[in-house]
């Protein structure tokens, strides 16, 4: 399933950010995902306001030493994984 770059991901129902022992986590029904570095930067932008391409743009700036295409591929891969886990809803880009 390919992602629409204009769509705006947000955390799905039953998913939210949490914190335990200074570690940020994505809490989901019956499971949790530790967030650090890039994964935290990505998930905290899944707010229904940032489009996929905006998230890619912002992270390419943030990790400017990394190869931009690699950053993009990593983000798309991570978002696809979260979608498969039903952690994200994608609002249509056409508003």
């Amino acid at each position: 399933m390919s992602l629409d770059l204009d769509s705006k991901p947000r955390l799905a129902a039953g998913c939210r950010m949490g914190e335990n022992n200074n570690q940020r986590v994505l809490l989901m029904p019956e499971r949790a995902l530790r967030l650090n570095g890039p994964s935290l930067e990505i998930v905290s932008r899944c707010d229904g306001k940032h489009s996929v391409s905006q998230i890619i743009g912002e992270l390419q700036l943030l990790y400017s030493k990394a190869e931009p295409h690699k950053v993009e591929q990593d983000i798309l891969g991570y978002l696809a994984l979260l979608q498969k886990e039903r952690a994200l809803d994608f609002e249509s880009g056409a508003v």
């Binding site: 129902a13 039953g14 949490g18 809490l27 029904p29 019956e30 979608q83 039903r86």
Partner: protein, 377 residues
């Protein structure tokens, strides 16, 4: 002495053994706790704080029926305030629209609704209560809220053939996840096992149908299938490994590594009224007993899979072999696997419960003599 590997991650809070349902496969122990033995709101609130401090992320409120607790809203609030993610595992029965709204507003993260079947008569016979229609109403009410929703269909020989109708309920519900959880044979299910174990033919159908359903529901609903492990080649990594991830607190406050642990003779459980959760996690004899690998016997001891399945389920080993440290006998490598095979042979010879071997699989559930669990005082 085995070392403590990590923090507990999940706290299963069995708030009460009281329940309006009398399911024939209930996982509660045969000896149920009465209301007068239940922990108070204050003790539970302290337990939630201690759990979060010990590293626990998730609290699963279950029972019995957790909604039977009059203080359920306060309990959700205090678990949320402690920083936990709160799931309610419920029959949905003692619920009306107003009560649901208060639960959601109190901060409930995830609602897990159990189903006993897809057809009213089956579901009501299995639960020993008129419950099915009400559950369907609860599903409609839930559509108003943006809350995590999992449907849990407990499946077995008498309802597995309703799978197509169960999938129709799932499709209409908008649930993010559905579990088709085969009955596991402990507690009341162990007592009713010969009537509940599915046939191999039913299981094959189920696996094939759910594979297709997974494709149909991709991106909408995650579909999880818990196999009946008597049919498995290798055992389940029970509770993610003994004393590795999970703590269960009984209605009266005993801390268990697994809900079925009291079937193992000689295990001494600590109570949360006497000790902090962290102390119990680190030092309780019961948690230490099968933690790590020191307790393992052959073939587990030298098996490549021992870090994957941890030797399977200690309680099942106890129930089927009389030795809690034995390899889980559902494992094909277990020298006692023949015991499980003998049970399966019997089931597959006699066909569905109450029916002739060659007849259709639908069973008049009401005609089976079940052992129903009672409601404790």
């Amino acid at each position: 002495m085995p070392t403590v590997q990590q923090n507990p991650l999940a706290l299963v809070a069995e708030l009460t053994h009281r329940c309006p349902l009398h399911c024939v496969y209930c996982s509660n122990p045969l000896e149920l706790q009465s209301r007068s033995n239940e922990l108070s709101t204050e003790v539970w609130s302290r337990v939630f704080k201690e759990a979060a401090e010990a590293g626990v992320l998730q609290a699963d409120f279950t029972g019995g029926e957790p909604l039977a607790r009059p203080d359920i809203v306060d309990l959700i609030r205090s678990a949320r305030a402690a920083g936990l993610y709160v799931s309610l595992i419920t029959s949905g029965l003692p619920l009306d629209e107003a009560k649901l709204e208060t639960l959601v507003h109190a901060g409930l993260d995830h609602f897990q609704l159990s189903f006993q079947g897809a057809r009213e008569e089956t579901a009501n016979d299995i639960s020993g209560t008129k419950s099915h229609q009400h559950k369907l109403r609860v599903l409609q009410w839930l559509k108003r809220y943006r809350i995590g929703l999992t449907l849990n269909f407990v499946i077995h020989r008498c309802n597995i053939d309703e799978l197509e109708e169960m999938l129709a309920i799932v499709k209409d519900s908008g649930a993010g996840c559905v579990e088709f959880a085969s009955v596991q044979y402990y507690g009341w299910a162990f007592a009713n096992r010969e009537k509940l174990l599915p046939t191999r033919q039913q299981l094959d159908y189920c696996v094939e149908r759910l594979k297709r359903a997974e494709e149909e529901q991709q991106g909408k609903t995650r579909i999880l299938f818990v196999v009946p492990d008597y049919y498995a080649k290798y055992p389940k990594p029970c509770v993610g490994g003994w004393g590795r991830k999970l703590m269960l607190i009984t209605p009266s406050g005993d801390a268990l590594p697994c809900h079925a642990a009291p079937v193992i003779p000689g295990l001494k459980f600590e109570n949360v009224k006497d000790r902090s959760l962290r102390e119990i996690w680190e030092h309780s004899e019961a948690f230490q007993k099968f933690r790590g690998e020191d307790w393992m016997q052959e073939p587990c001891k030298s098996c490549d899979r021992r870090a994957q399945d941890f030797g399977g389920c200690r309680c099942q080993a106890m129930l089927l072999t009389g030795n809690a440290a034995a390899t889980d006998p559902v494992c094909s490598l277990s020298p006692q696997r023949h015991k499980v095979d003998a049970i399966l042979a019997q089931i597959n010879e006699q066909g569905p419960a109450g029916a002739e071997p060659a007849s259709p699989i639908t069973v008049p559930v009401g005609k089976i003599e079940w052992l129903y669990r009672p409601n404790p005082s």
